[in-house]
């Protein structure tokens, strides 16, 4: 018996699952870096977060949305990983689970599940935890390279935290020894959230995503360059170390956000022009929050605010269609 169907009779083998799996693979170098610098605590936070997100996703599909079980497509795993990467390694297990609940149930399932959420679930989870438990969310264990079992690391401020509390009068010399060097920032030997510390690991992940054509270069490039350009202009015109563009590039959640969270399919615009607007907006907001608000770090808020603009961008920004050139 022959089958009939409409064209095309060919489909790519690339499906949702294989794309999501590629994102998980791209996130692995950052997990390795986290374990390398923060030891078993990092592993515990990552495991709790992933398990929590997958569990909530399963429960939501089974008992609430009553749809096909979407845990097998790895999207909840990605949310879990990204949430963990946005937490310090000393995060208590129950708080991580609260974050998972906010991410999967409130930010994702409430909107209708996979692909229908407006805000990045992992960031909603993170911001909820950040506002609810500010003490735990801002005590940053210092890295202790390759000492896996050490769990009682000292805590200290992050690079951006140090910059935030600088007086305008503090001279650059007083900073000597307080700020980590560029190499430590690039490799990840600094205090901070699990996944954000190692620029190197994040870059490896980015190149994997680009190579596998999961994302295009537009959002990461425009986001990072916007931040770099604004801080560079301020730095060159004032000489103030608080504006040092390289420090802004390699510290805080900028690279993690620009590579993995601003590029989230569901919550970014649907065409290149829109993506550029979105990314530049994220960059401007990130710098504004980092430099002129009470918070040292602005990536989460910047991306969430721009997420809210995505439906508007999609409505008014369309790709140029063939035949419109006169």
């Amino acid at each position: 018996m022959l089958k009939i169907s409409t064209a095309p009779h060919f489909q790519t083998t690339r499906d949702t699952r294989s794309i999501m799996l590629d994102v998980v693979i791209a996130l692995m170098p950052a997990a390795l870096a986290a374990v390398l610098f923060f030891g078993i605590n990092a592993l515990l936070v990552i495991f709790t977060s992933v398990a929590g997100c997958v569990l909530f996703e399963y429960l939501a599909c089974r008992y609430w949305l009553k749809t096909r079980n979407t845990t097998t497509d790895f999207s909840a795993v990605i949310t879990g990983l990204l949430l963990a990467y946005n937490l310090p390694s000393s995060m208590p297990v129950w708080m991580t689970l609260v974050g998972c609940f906010m991410a999967i149930i409130v930010a994702k399932t409430c909107y209708g599940g996979l692909g229908k959420n407006i805000f990045n679930p992992a960031l909603v989870g993170r911001v909820f935890l950040f506002i609810s438990f500010p003490v735990q969310m801002t005590s940053w264990p210092q890295p202790h390279l390759a000492r896996f079992w050490e769990t009682d690391a000292q805590t200290g401020a992050t690079t951006l935290g140090i910059l935030k509390h600088l007086d305008a009068e503090t001279s650059a010399t007083a900073l000597q020894g307080k700020l980590p060097g560029y190499w430590d920032m690039f490799a990840g030997n600094i205090g901070g959230c699990l996944g954000e510390v190692s620029a190197l690991a994040l870059l490896i992940g980015l190149f994997y995503l680009l190579w596998r054509r999961v994302i295009t270069w537009h959002i990461p490039f425009y986001y990072v360059s916007t931040v770099f350009l604004i801080t560079a202009v301020l730095w060159l015109s004032t000489g103030d170390p608080r504006y040092d563009p390289l420090t802004h590039l390699f510290s805080g959640g900028l690279l993690l956000g620009a590579f993995f969270m601003a590029t989230d399919y569901a919550t970014s615009p649907m065409n290149k022009k829109g993506q550029v607007i979105f990314a530049v907006g994220c960059g401007i907001l990130t710098v504004a929050i980092r430099l002129w608000s009470a918070y040292p770090e602005g990536v989460s808020f910047a991306i969430l605010i721009m997420n809210a603009f995505v439906p508007l961008i999609d409505k008014y920004v369309a790709p140029r269609f063939y035949g419109s050139r006169r």
Partner: protein, 439 residues
């Protein structure tokens, strides 16, 4: 080699599966019965001239073009007309067809069967158009637009470039490829003939880079013909689309809702160019064409010269029969072809391939949620947003669809091919088009 030409927007790279690109064209032979549809083109069906019991020869006019946008239909065999009535077509819908029982293989005396190549074109433009009209030639790349209408450029438009389309970007199909390898000079002369109609001296034969033999064969011939040049293009689907090819070759865009002539171009498929050569120089009506019989479930893939009206099942038997793995029989290519319901349906002037595809290759995976990956907007060669069209069609917002430019959709299927959530995006676009056309 310099940068290969291609169209700038969208496009995909599906697996090529050009298994038959080295297989020489073979004669398929004569079936016992042929079914010749009276409508193998865009426009009104041809008016039937024969009746049951009539004796016909190869090349006998069976049905006469009804109006300007229509085409003559000729007999492809000699024999007796069995019936002139509706027969089940490839979809199972009935169509008017002339059924002929094959007896011998006798040609109309006017047809020149000699194999030597006629190089001098002694005819005027009007005579050429008349000959093309009498031969019932239509665009053989798949659109089936009557060629005399297409080549008669309105006086207020100026065409400066003729593009002969040898791209054949659909997977599996190699009919045009083999024709270029084996009949290169005839195709080039065909291009010169069309140039004569247009009164220009500039023809580009576009071939994509995965056809090195065709590029070599045609390039060798074009050296001796002034004004005909080969342009090698990058391999990308849908490069063979008329508008995409114009942009690839000339950098111009056909304005929305306008014709290629508005961009100063005329595009003809290599098969059509060959048919034009045969019609003009050899007085041969369009009664046969090259068909690729292939597919991953086909035992002996090959390229055949096939008489129009030959049932697909006859070709399938030649190529090893309908294997148990066959899930779909496709008329045309896997991207834009149609899955046949009735394999006794005939090969028409537009059938470039008969493909036997296995379940694994042709399976349509179940639909999932859109993950907003934006890949459909990325691959659309027209710059549409298929996800948005699908959403509006689902919501019944047909009024808003006009702003989405969905009428410019070329139905190439890149969106549906690419969608990781397996949404039938092309179906939504087609539905939107038909709803808009109703209004």
């Amino acid at each position: 080699m310099s940068k290969l030409k291609t169209f700038p927007m969208g496009g995909i790279h599906p697996d090529k599966y050009k298994i038959t690109s080295e297989s020489p064209i073979m004669d398929a032979g004569l079936p016992e019965i042929v079914y010749i549809p009276v409508k193998q083109h865009i426009g009104s069906p041809a008016k039937i001239l024969v009746a049951k019991g009539d004796k016909v020869k190869v090349g006998t006019l069976l049905a006469d073009a009804d109006g300007i946008v229509s085409a003559d239909v000729h007999s492809s065999v000699s024999g007796e007309v069995l019936k002139v009535e509706a027969v089940e077509g490839e979809f199972g819908y009935v169509e008017d067809m002339i059924t002929i029982r094959v007896e011998g293989d006798e040609f109309e005396p006017s047809v020149d069967l000699s194999s030597d190549i006629a190089r001098e074109i002694p005819f005027t433009a009007e005579e050429i158009i008349a000959k093309i009209r009498q031969a019932g030639i239509v665009g053989m790349g798949g659109a089936g637009y009557p060629t005399p209408v297409k080549t008669s450029i309105p006086s207020n438009k100026k065409v400066d470039t003729l593009i002969i389309n040898g791209i054949e970007c659909e997977p599996f199909l190699t009919a045009d490829d083999r024709l270029m390898v084996e009949k290169a000079e005839q195709i080039v002369i065909g291009a010169k003939i069309i140039n004569k109609i247009l009164g220009i001296q500039n023809a580009v034969i576009a071939i994509d880079e995965n056809k090195p033999h065709a590029v070599e064969a045609v390039s060798k011939v074009t050296k001796t013909y002034v004004g005909v040049n080969v342009q090698v293009c990058a391999t990308k689907y849908p490069q063979g689309g008329e508008k995409q090819l114009i942009t690839a070759i000339t950098g111009r865009e056909v304005p929305s809702g306008k014709l290629p002539a508005d961009a100063g171009c005329l595009v003809q498929n290599v098969g059509t160019a060959f048919a034009i050569y045969e019609a003009v120089m050899k007085n041969k009506p369009l009664f046969e064409r090259i068909v690729t019989v292939s597919g991953d479930a086909c035992l002996h893939p090959a390229n055949y010269r096939v008489r129009i009206g030959t049932p697909a099942s006859f070709l399938i038997d030649k190529a090893g029969g309908l294997t148990p793995e066959t899930a779909k029989v496709i008329f045309g290519g896997p991207m834009m072809g149609t899955a046949a319901f009735n394999i006794n349906a005939p090969v028409t002037k537009l059938t470039s391939g008969i493909l036997l595809l296995s379940e694994k290759t042709s399976r349509k995976a179940p639909e999932n949620s859109c993950i907003r990956c934006a890949k459909c907007t990325e691959v659309c060669p027209v710059g549409l947003q298929p996800y948005l069209i699908a959403r509006k069609v689902r919501g019944g917002n047909f009024d808003e669809l006009r702003d989405c430019h969905v009428l410019d959709c070329i139905e190439c299927g890149c969106c549906a091919y690419t969608c990781p959530a397996r949404l039938p995006l092309l179906d939504y676009c087609k539905l939107a088009k038909s709803e808009l056309k109703k209004k």
